[in-house]
Symmetry: C2
Subunit: 140 residues, 2 copies
């Protein structure tokens, strides 16, 4: 198995609401509105929104309750940019569960929840390499 995550699917309870939320953050999907999924190109991978029950069934699983222990992050180039993105998320209706602040690992971050409670950490990590095209590279 190659060392690659190629699709991350987020289970949602209302696709229109969730798609509008990500579009309010500036994301764009070419998926036709009449289909029951939205695909967003994210660098060399895809982020998908799909019905939560379908995500569970398609994986042969029962849906649990609450947070399943998977978090997402969006790395940016400066502390100030963390503040800007968190403010954008709040303006789009996101709940902020961690106000932007210095972190124990020497960076700066805050956390917002998308409409289904999936957490996004918006982070400036001065120890990692952030390329102009958005790629994040671990240091040697």
């Amino acid at each position: 198995m190659k060392q690659r995550l190629t699709v991350l699917t987020l289970g949602v309870s209302d696709l229109t609401r969730s798609r509008c939320f990500y579009e309010a953050l500036g994301w764009r999907s070419d998926s036709p509105p009449e289909i029951d999924v939205a695909f967003f190109q994210s660098g060399g991978m895809v982020v998908a929104l799909w019905d939560r029950a379908n995500v569970a069934a398609d994986n042969g699983l029962e849906l649990g309750s609450g947070f399943g222990g998977v978090s997402l992050a969006h790395n940016v180039a400066s502390d100030a940019e963390v503040d800007v993105v968190l403010a954008e998320a709040a303006a789009a209706g996101a709940r902020i569960t961690k106000q932007p602040a210095p972190t124990f690992w020497g960076g700066y971050s805050g956390v917002f929840l998308d409409p289904d409670g999936h957490p996004w950490e918006v982070a400036h990590n001065p120890h990692w390499i952030l390329m102009d095209d958005g790629d994040v590279i671990l240091p040697d």
Copy 2:
């Protein structure tokens, strides 16, 4: 907010067990074994393994029970390669929750669970573009 997922963190209950599982699949991490996290470079992003309770607390959330509705996928270039990767996962101790089979969307896939129950769909999607370097590109 740029259209980018840069880190996906999977909550784990036993980091050594989970790291060994991904290493058994052929993944490699340069994270020192003595730290409490393992980072894997995945194209232009990072997949991280970290204690489940820490993932919850770090996001200002309580851990729920069971599957939280987030699934991961690994795209490959052929149906036969799906079979090979699922067999590798089973050999590494993964539970297979969906045997490889044709899908409703015209592809072929199967699903395995990592040691903490995070589902990975191994998929051949003939409608998407899979680059030699592992990038997946949505069609126009």
